[in-house]
Structure formats: C-alpha cells, structure tokens
C-alpha cells in the first residue's frame, strides 16, 4: 500500500463514520488532527476536534436522517484526497443556525439533497484539512433560504 492508498482508506472511513448515515463521534478523535480545519461553503469554518464534533452534533440534531455518500472513486496525489459526494437530510429537528445563508426555525420539514466536491489533506494518518464546495444553490433553494429572482 502506498501512502496515497492509506490516505484514501482514511478518507473512506471518515466519510462513512462522520458523514454517513450513522455518526460515530469517536471517529473525530481517531482520524482528525487536533487542529483540523473543516470548511464547507454552506457553513462557518470549524477548527479543532471539539468544534468539529459540535458542528456535526448540531447538524444532526436538526437533520436526524442526515447522510452523505461518495459518487465516484477517490482521487489521491501527495497529501491530497478528493471526494465527490451526494446526500442530505430532512429538517425535522432543532432550529439550525449554521447555514451562512440564514437560520432555519425548528422542524420546517424541508428536505435537502445536493452534491459536492471535497479536498482533504492527510498527514501522518490524520486529516489536517477538509475543504468542500457544496452545491449550495440546490440546497438553499430546497431549504427555502434562497429564491430565484428572474425567470430563466
């Protein structure tokens, strides 16, 4: 196994246990570097394990069926691993204030399902950085946080 294969295996486990149907908070201590940066375009950036766990706990408190999965093979070179994914959830839970576009009151019942591309940096078996671009237009239109102003 090359370092790149190891890195892909780590990212695969991270996607399953952090972003998959069942969140296992212990994956953060195991695979996140202590000062890991988590930065997705829809959300405020998070730094460090406690902050990252808080992000996911709040996300799933609002969207209890939250789940994302890969849509293509991972791409790895050097320290970088690129993942393409799709997923979402239904807002049946708590109010959600972590979307940069605006807050959601509790249990709107709205569903979001959107894709994205993420670049992770893995060093010595730990994820140092996870920077992702969400298809925010899709997600925010579905959540009623964005509106189209002009007819196509």
């Amino acid at each position: 196994m090359s370092v790149q294969d190891d890195n892909k295996a780590i990212v695969g486990r991270w996607f399953t246990h952090f972003w998959g149907a069942n969140f296992d908070p212990s994956i953060v201590d195991e695979l996140a570097a202590p000062d890991m940066l988590l930065h997705y375009s829809l959300h405020a950036p998070r730094r460090g394990r406690a902050d990252i766990k808080a992000f996911m706990a709040a996300f799933r408190a609002s969207f209890p069926d939250l789940s994302f999965g890969g849509t293509a093979e991972l791409i790895a070179e050097g320290d970088s691993v690129v993942g393409r994914w799709i997923g979402g959830g239904t807002h049946t839970g708590a109010a959600f204030g972590d979307m940069l576009a605006g807050p959601l009151p509790a249990a709107t019942g709205r569903k979001m399902r959107f894709s994205g591309t993420t670049v992770l940096k893995v060093i010595n078996g730990r994820i140092v950085e996870e920077v992702g671009l969400d298809d925010g237009v899709t997600a925010l239109l579905q959540l009623g946080l964005l509106r189209i102003t002009v007819a196509a």
Partner: protein, 196 residues
Amino acid sequence: MTAQDMQRRNLLRWAGTGAVATAAGVVGLTGQAQAAPRASTDPRQTAREQANKAIVGRWFDGFWGPTYDPAIVEALAAPDMLLQYSLHVPRRGRTDIRAFMKDFRASFPNLAFAGTAPLIAQGDLVVGRWLGGGTHTGAAFSDFLLGSLPAATGRKMHFSGTTVLRLAGGRIVEEIGLDDGVTALTQLGLVAPIRA
C-alpha cells in the same frame, strides 16, 4: 506585460509542476500574491499523470484564462468532450463547447479564471481548484440554468469552484465542475436570500 508574457505566466501558474510553478509564484485576479503551489512529492506520479496535468494547465490557460484561444478546443478537447458546470447547461462536442465560450465572453468580455492550488492527478483524472469571473458589460446571457440576464447589466461575478477532468489519449474527454453558484448568482442578482 506583453500578451506573450501573460501567456507564459498563466502557463506557469497552471502547470502544477512544482519547481517551475514555485519559481513563478501565483498571482490571482486580485493581483495579490498567493501561496505558491507545492511540488508534487508523490513518487508514484507517472509520466502520464504529469502529462495530463500539463494538458489541463494549457486548457485552463487557453480556454478559461484572460485570453481565449479557440484553437485550444481542436488541440485538446476530444471530439465528443462533455463540458458540464453546475451553473450552466451541459455542452457536448467541440462546436458546442466553442459556442459556449464565445457566448460567455460576448456577455462577459473580461472573463478570466485562474488556479488557486496545485492540480491533483491520479490515473486519468485531474482536479483543479480555481477562482475568477468577469463583468457583464456585453450581450444578454441566457446560459445560466437559473435565469437570464438582459444586455450589459454591469454586474460583476467573482467566485470559486472545483473541477474534475478526465483525459484519454492526451485529450480531455470530460470536464465536470462545481461552481460556487450561491456567490455568483447572488452577485448577478439572479438569486436572493430569504431571511426568516
């Protein structure tokens, strides 16, 4: 700066081959120096992967850079290439792809995109991260999936994205990109936030 210097600088910017790109540094559209790309240290990187990165570097420069060269489409696009960005209608084949870029630049004459990080390559795939945009001083534009712009709105868009390209036999077969559409479409006035 001559057009040739510009061309050369863009090529270096996109080349993704560490040593050269590091020496040249990277200058974004804001004119501020950005972190220079790091040399690839993957010893498994094959000659084909390096060649693919060089091809994508030329493509990003000649197709997406400040000066569009339509000949780049014949040179580097496979005859049935798919071009698909999240903001736009998908395009297939050289004629369609040239029409896309011609119209895009007829509407946004100063259109320019540039890389923000080294290219990442494995197998047939190359991943690029980029930033750019333009000012809508030209023709009406109806290629955005979510809405049309009348001529010369004067609006500026400046947004980032991530693109995955697939190559075969030294040609680009597929270019699939995710735009930060929230940023671009908000700037263009095609979407607006709804505040509770």
